[in-house]
Symmetry: C2
Subunit: 386 residues, 2 copies
């Protein structure tokens, strides 16, 4: 009775971009950005819109002038309008207004799919501007210039963007590949200590689940990192970005259409802690606590040796992370369901069986999560007393 | 001085979906939709949200009840909430409110990436609901059930979605592949004559640039089509959808990141006419006028024989299309720049060198566009007098 005919559609989309490490990208003598902007030129004068994190402008008072001077020397690329300032920090992702600001400028200046939007800033600004670029004309070329450790080694080199809605992190967004990413080490110099440190958490995370040698390197480099050695930090970022990019490339499912999982060890609790603290706890700081929690859980469930757990907790304390927080209570357990819901399908949580080796489970024993919280609080008190 | 290091990222994303032709998809005995919903189940009870075009509900007063009965017979899939009604027609894409309605429901009912959103309706509703599905959690599975000729043979089988912003058609949107498409012929029966006819324009378009045999088949089938022969219309839809899907698959650039062009013969003027008429002219009707304009332009520039042009104009008149409109004046020429801007890069317009064979140009002679408008108006008057 119900006869059917089927047309099958099957195709692949290629994505290709470079993450280029440089210094002083807007230095008048640095040709890198200019070369990127003209390599695939299809019109006589490429239009460029720039959005910069307000926090970056505050730390670099001459940046706007530098950017304007940089573009003035070229006649075949054209900076549109004043530089757009976007307030930095996760809270600025809590409403649509900054996405709308970008869309309005795209409309006003006739920015098209072959024009460029350059986003300069921390992860939140890159997520916001990136989302606007992805949905304007179904995708305007986006060049990310991440300015924090966290965005240079993690979010800025990935394929996600978006904003928070209904109090849920990254509820609204899409997968989209940037046109290019420029990691400029000179932006790291002005980061405050909290920001400098926070980004190291993602490096610890990826080392713990993928690369024991990298973890040992981080242990060895702890003093240099706390002493703000820029070249050591740059090496950490390079290795961490490389591991993240390999994961996206080799997962077989970069846009997570099936059940493949992003590299989100420690993140279910981290997202919830950020939310519970109204984003007072920064993402990297929350990830450090989340790593402590899931590493301790791994130990309590018999998967990880206590000796390995203590190496993990110790390096984080040495780097200055606080492993406890007054919002780290049973309330975070609600984060498990929100995490499942965001990724869809079955709950999947990564645990550790050794440093450098993660594995997945599909249920979490909430009484052991509570026990792990107690373990961390006790460890923390002992450290403070020592 | 400015040393650089580069990490290269390169990957492919696979997209795969079927367009399934059936009748009476919500008939309690038709297992097609149910099978689709359970084939990749990752949770014990899949959640489903359904949004239906108000126009479809008006034409099918028992549809809501039928849908509810359909889902009630299964215990492992769960319809959430009442069926959401979305007003149909292009004008409903002019603000964000319907996208927000869907996002709110996604949040409220805990719809996740492995849940399903089913959109039932014409192209505008599919575009709106599809955009919401694409940006909720970075992509919830979308099943499109197009209910018009136009959406079954063109937009509904493609990879675009979005809404209008700043008075510009599809300004805000993204590329995203549906989970599946179900073309249900029984929805075509209740279309009014305008809607039934409008969708034929996209079939004429694709035949003109790709497939002379299909064009001849449409000429031969004109009487059956105007007499509302459902099986002939279904064949037209099947062949047209197939040609569109082949183009997406074989273009080498389905998400139009480079300079590849969609199948949009006649569309630069069509988009502008829709806008100038405040969407009184429906998309398919505007496309028919756009086809007449660019075919006439092709003839006036010496690319197309007048005999072929007259075949094109004659079949459209025979099918009941109006080839002129009081908004078809020099004002449409502004549509050229808006069309260029939306696609980006160089202006690229498809013209005809013969029936079944399109070619691209990068400039349009505006005086000849005006001449073509005059030619069509004269042709139209002669037809009316005959």
């Amino acid at each position: 009775m119900h006869k059917t005919r089927t047309l099958e559609q099957k195709f692949q989309v290629d994505f290709h971009f470079n993450v280029i490490f440089t210094q002083a990208v807007f230095d008048i003598e640095n040709p890198l950005l200019y070369k990127l902007l003209v390599e695939k030129k299809t019109v006589s004068k490429s239009k460029i819109l720039i959005a910069v994190d307000s926090g970056v402008i505050n730390s670099h008072p001459h940046l706007k002038e530098k950017i304007e001077n940089y573009f003035e020397q070229y006649t075949n690329i054209q900076l549109q309008d004043d530089i757009i300032q976007i307030p930095g920090g996760e809270a600025s992702k809590n409403n649509e207004s900054h996405v709308n600001t970008i869309l309005e400028r795209v409309n006003h200046y006739g920015i098209d799919r072959h024009s460029y939007i350059i986003a300069v800033g921390g992860g939140a600004v890159l997520d916001t501007v990136g989302f606007a670029a992805a949905i304007a004309h179904r995708g305007v070329r986006l060049i990310r210039i991440p300015t924090t450790v966290l965005s240079q080694n993690d979010s800025g080199v990935g394929v996600k963007n978006g904003i928070n809605s209904f109090g849920k992190k990254n509820f609204t967004g899409c997968f989209a590949s940037p046109y290019a990413v420029i990691n400029d080490a000179s932006f790291l110099v002005t980061l405050d200590d909290r920001e400098w440190r926070a980004g190291i958490a993602e490096a610890i995370k990826v080392a713990l689940i993928k690369d024991a040698t990298f973890f040992a390197w981080i242990e060895k480099s702890a003093n240099a990192l706390t002493n703000r050695d820029l070249s050591v930090m740059n090496e950490l970022i390079y290795r961490c970005a490389d591991l993240h990019m390999q994961h996206i490339r080799n997962s077989g499912d970069p846009f997570e259409q099936g059940s493949s999982r992003p590299l989100d060890f420690g993140h279910w609790a981290a997202h919830k802690l950020e939310q519970l603290s109204n984003f007072d706890v920064r993402h990297g700081e929350a990830v450090a606590i989340g790593i402590a929690l899931d590493s301790t859980y791994s130990f309590l469930k018999g998967h990880l040796k206590e000796e390995s757990l203590l190496r993990i907790l110790d390096i984080m304390v040495k780097l200055g992370f606080k492993l406890s927080h007054h919002h780290l209570t049973g309330k975070v357990i609600q984060g498990l369901e929100e995490f499942r819901e965001h990724l869809g399908g079955q709950l999947t949580i990564m645990l550790l069986e050794a440093i450098g080796s993660g594995f997945e489970v599909h249920t979490m024993d909430t009484s052991v999560v509570l026990e792990a919280i107690g373990y961390i609080k006790k460890y923390n008190t002992q450290k403070l007393e020592a």
